[in-house]
Subunit: 140 residues, 3 copies
């Protein structure tokens, strides 16, 4: 069994933003030499996500608006007790739960085994600083 | 290490619907010959889910109503920018994020290692056409 | 390839509660002898979650309030059809979907490969009774 571990770092220039990381993951899968296996891609931070969906800018705007409705940004401690700690990012901890921490993707014949529109995104909900994503590959 | 890959196709006759795919996954696990391992089940489309919950029709009606409240269907581009592309399914991309893309299930002694009520569902949010689910098994 | 399977049991003394299970998972990873691999941690019940986030009591209060807004507890069958079955926990089936069933975590050099704040929680949404969590490790 082979394993391969890579850490990617992102510093997105907005509070909330999505970046397509499929090309980086594809490259790491090729480098691993794994033909049949699984790849885990997860945010290593708790106010960020890795998720799979469509690379369509209008949809990303819809996601931002929708997540803001479900868990509005509010730096005060009136709405969110977490912000009593001096943080202002309680909303980001909620947005991340909706979008998820991780994806697990099949590797078949050396490639990400994807449907026609699947793309992997890093989702940032408390940005403007370095955060890491873990790529872990297991297989043969 | 063994691996086994199967693609299932579903064409559900409604916009939103849930189908219990546990029997198919159990059969694929048996065919794989894997005694100890993991099985990944994921939607290959970005307006569909694979999730684990209860096979109770009332609950499924509750899920539909609840998801419709969280992300209402609206074919217009007034609510959802994604629908400016000519699509009418922006809501389905949101419903899918709530219910999730995938599940990873343990295989122990050759069987899905499940609690008493766990069942695997394909969740459709933009149906009436063929969509695929990937089953990928890794183990010994 | 090694595999290792452990079942943990929890009986949390409230309807909704979160318990940090990271120390138990770390111990199981050490016992497995796996240096490079994946660990799946999943709730075996459909009104409970395993998720990764921050061990901060204020945030946990925020999660409870937020989940209660997204899917309010209501024992009657007026809001939730599932409760016509004699259950009172339809809300718990929804809260669990928001927080997720499972996490998959990388094992690197014999340890959980975590970012600085990642902690694993058992999330209970219909408590005061025994429920199980499955820990399944695969690797070398």
């Amino acid at each position: 069994m082979k394993s391969h571990t890579v850490y990617l770092t992102f510093d997105l220039p907005a509070r909330m933003a999505f970046e397509n990381i499929t090309p980086q993951v594809e490259k790491i899968v090729r480098e691993s030499g794994v033909a049949e296996g699984l790849v885990l891609c997860n945010a290593m931070h708790i106010t960020a996500s890795v998720f799979i969906n469509d690379d369509e800018p209008g949809l990303h705007e819809d996601y931002k608006k929708w997540l803001e409705e479900l868990a509005p940004f509010d730096a005060s401690a009136a709405r969110y007790r977490h912000n009593r700690t001096g943080e202002d990012n309680a909303d980001a901890h909620m947005k991340r739960q909706v979008m998820g921490r991780e994806v697990v993707v099949a590797i078949t014949k050396g490639k990400l085994d994807f449907g026609p529109w699947e793309q992997i995104f890093y989702g940032e909900f408390d940005g403007r600083r370095d955060k890491r994503v873990l790529i872990k590959i297991l297989g043969d």
